[in-house]
């Protein structure tokens, strides 16, 4: 009667093992990895038969370690796009791993280093520690971490887009658009970039409108879209009529709530303007893809140094998209003035990231 007697214990175990095993294949939570070869047919590839020029002509290999999914419409999507752009621009061979948890990161760095990658990028401040640790074991491999200020001789560098600038501009936009003079902020996890944008959006709002009220909710997660939406409702109930959303893939749910309730909202961390043109005035872009491109460019040109780089408004990494039609001219002017104040150094931005 028992199935174990019929098939034998081994078969049942095998079935379970298959079930579990298929998960890792299916890019489950262990961090799915993918390799994308350098585009073939590029001019710089050596022609067949005469490839005796040695290692230097082989395409450089770049690996990217991501904390989330490349479909998140924000942080990870940007990095993925940056990696693809760098591949097309510089003909490097690229690979990436998604959903790498903090605790697994070290093994991913080590694995890529052993596989002969020239540059391994951890996308997010949380990869700082594992990168500096593993880098000591592989002095010939370059390591880079984004969204953090760190460097370690001879091979660890870091780069970040100017999060405070972006937060400041988003706050200015929101405050100038608000009718009641009360704006809200919904953030994902409490991590330095999210907190930096929160603090600086308040700063930006008060810079352009000193009496502006500011309320905020931190979700503690990026996955829970229902919570994101409900949290937005609660801010709207408190009287906020412009919401700044900074919660990666949950941002879309926050903007949806704004649209439903007929108020304005803007997402920072991605491009959302066409999602709900009547709700979203503009996107304040924080182009993390530029970080990846800059890093790869440095690698290819042999300029990679163990140093920290920050790119912002000046480099075009922080910028505004085109405004949607309905936005009043005085809002645009006000924001333009805020940008000028920033560039003139009239504002002291709050920096919490090391």
């Amino acid at each position: 009667m028992s199935i174990k007697r019929i098939f034998g214990k081994g078969v049942v175990m095998l079935l379970i093992v298959c079930l579990v095993g298929s998960v890792s294949v299916l890019a489950g939570c262990g961090g799915g990895s993918k390799e994308e070869p350098a585009p073939s047919g590029e001019g710089e590839k050596p022609s067949d038969g005469s490839s005796s020029s040695g290692d230097s002509s082989a395409p450089k290999k770049v690996a990217l370690i991501l904390p989330g999914e490349i479909t998140d419409m924000g942080w990870n999507s940007y990095a993925y796009n940056g990696l693809m752009k760098a591949r097309d621009l510089y003909g490097v061979e690229v690979a990436y791993s998604e959903k790498v948890s903090d605790s697994d990161a070290e093994e991913f760095f080590r694995g890529y280093a052993k596989d002969g990658y020239d540059l391994i990028i951890g996308h997010g401040f949380e990869f700082g520690e594992p990168a500096t640790k593993v880098a000591k074991e592989f002095p010939d491999v370059k390591f880079a971490v984004t969204s953090i200020n760190l460097s370690q001789e001879p091979n660890v560098g870091s780069i970040t887009t100017d999060n405070p600038q972006q937060g400041f501009l988003a706050g200015a936009v929101a405050a100038l658009l608000s009718e009641k003079g009360k704006i809200g902020y919904v953030g994902g996890r409490e991590i330095p970039p999210v907190i930096e944008k929160q603090k600086n959006s308040e700063l930006g709002a008060k810079h352009v409108r000193p009496d502006c009220e500011y309320v905020s909710v931190i979700l503690g997660t990026y996955d829970d879209l229902q919570k994101a939406k409900e949290s937005t409702y609660s801010l709207i109930e408190q009287g906020a009529d412009v919401i700044i959303a900074n919660a990666d893939k949950s941002t879309i749910a926050i903007l949806e709530a704004c649209k439903e309730k007929g108020i304005k909202g803007l997402g920072i961390g991605g491009e959302y303007r066409d999602l709900a043109p009547e709700t979203i005035p503009v996107d304040v872009i924080n182009d993390a893809s530029a970080c990846i491109v800059v890093l790869v460019e440095k690698l290819v040109k042999g300029e990679f140094k163990p140093e920290f780089t920050r790119i912002g408004i000046k480099e075009g990494a922080v910028r505004l998209t085109e405004w949607n039609d309905w936005v009043p001219q005085e809002v645009k002017d006000g924001v333009q003035k805020a940008i000028e104040d920033l560039e003139a150094g009239k504002v002291e931005l709050i920096r919490v990231a090391k």
Partner: protein, 313 residues
């Protein structure tokens, strides 16, 4: 004074209707979970089944243009998924916790991969028609109660309707009696001619249908799209709601609504801007739950044969 009172009532109404919206998926799932729990089975795989439901609901709605066909597909997928689980834990007598973990991981992997296959790696998840909001005529106009109870989509009403139904089945029918006996003492049930395997299979399939429907509430009710890992721990919360409710339908429903209310309250406390650390505020619902569990509910005794595989020999 009058205005203040009005604001308080308004706030309470908003809080309670959010509690119902947040509690609804837990309520729906728990309607299936009480059966499996009473039949002595571990429910830890619920998260995965909900995720499958959330995903297949969107796929169904995407392909057909109707959320109801999406719901149907979700239920079918949930049932098929649970059929496999039931085969493993009931027939093959595999360890239930291990299978549950595998279920959750498999669902996460399947939905993520197939999501990319079907919808593509784009920065815009496809929007599908959601479950329409259905305000019950007249009742929805009652102050406070109207917005709280009668201005939701059909799944919320179904969730409430199922509470007395599951209660009735579990305590007033012979099938319910069989389920409870199987959970307490399967051999005794077997000796009086109850088909233990069949009862467990049926419970599993019910759980699959309800959990998948609960998942589709998230993707088609609260939102109108699927994103990876969107169930975000609600499967486990539904399991907790059932334990909180001492494995009874009414108790589970109260648990589900309490969890929903806790979350709704937590958000509002943050939004008030009192400057409380948000970690403290976020922990509050769970602190309340713990206090109620230890202080008011009393000792919880799970069905005696929980987690054990039954073999006829």
């Amino acid at each position: 004074m009058g205005q203040e009172l009005f604001a308080i009532i308004d706030g309470a109404t908003n809080l309670l209707s959010a509690a119902v919206r947040m509690g609804a998926p837990l309520l729906l799932a728990s309607a299936g979970l009480v059966f499996t729990a009473r039949a002595g089975m571990s429910n830890l795989g619920t998260e995965g089944v909900m995720l499958m439901g959330a995903f297949s609901g969107v796929v169904g709605a995407y392909l057909t243009g109707s959320p109801w066909l999406g719901a149907l597909l979700a239920i079918c997928i949930g049932v098929i998924f649970e059929l496999i689980v039931a085969f493993l834990v009931v027939t093959a007598r595999a360890n239930q916790v291990i299978v549950a973990m595998a279920t959750n991981l498999l669902a996460l992997g399947l939905t993520s991969s197939y999501g990319r296959v079907i919808f593509g790696v784009s920065t815009r998840p496809p929007r599908v028609p959601p479950y329409p909001l259905f305000k019950i005529p007249f009742l929805a106009d009652i102050p406070v109660l109207g917005p709280v109870l009668f201005s939701h989509n059909a799944l919320v009403y179904l969730a409430f309707f199922l509470v007395p139904v599951t209660h009735f089945i579990l305590y007033r029918t012979s099938l319910g009696l069989k389920v409870r006996v199987v959970g307490e003492h399967p051999r005794a049930a077997d000796s009086v001619g109850v088909n233990v395997y069949l009862v467990k299979y049926l419970c599993c399939l019910t759980r699959g249908a309800m959990a998948a429907l609960a998942g589709s509430y998230l993707s088609l009710g609260a939102l109108n799209m699927f994103t990876e890992n969107m169930v975000a721990g609600r499967g486990y919360m539904a399991v907790s709601a059932v334990i909180f409710g001492k494995w009874t339908p009414v108790g589970s429903a109260l648990g589900a609504l309490l969890f929903g209310a806790g979350d709704a309250l937590q958000m509002r406390l943050q939004a008030m801007g009192w400057g409380l650390p948000y970690q403290f505020v976020q922990a509050l619902p769970y602190v309340i739950t713990l206090v109620i569990l230890t202080g008011l509910v009393g000792k919880a005794v799970q069905p005696a044969a929980t987690g054990e595989a039954y073999s006829k020999e």
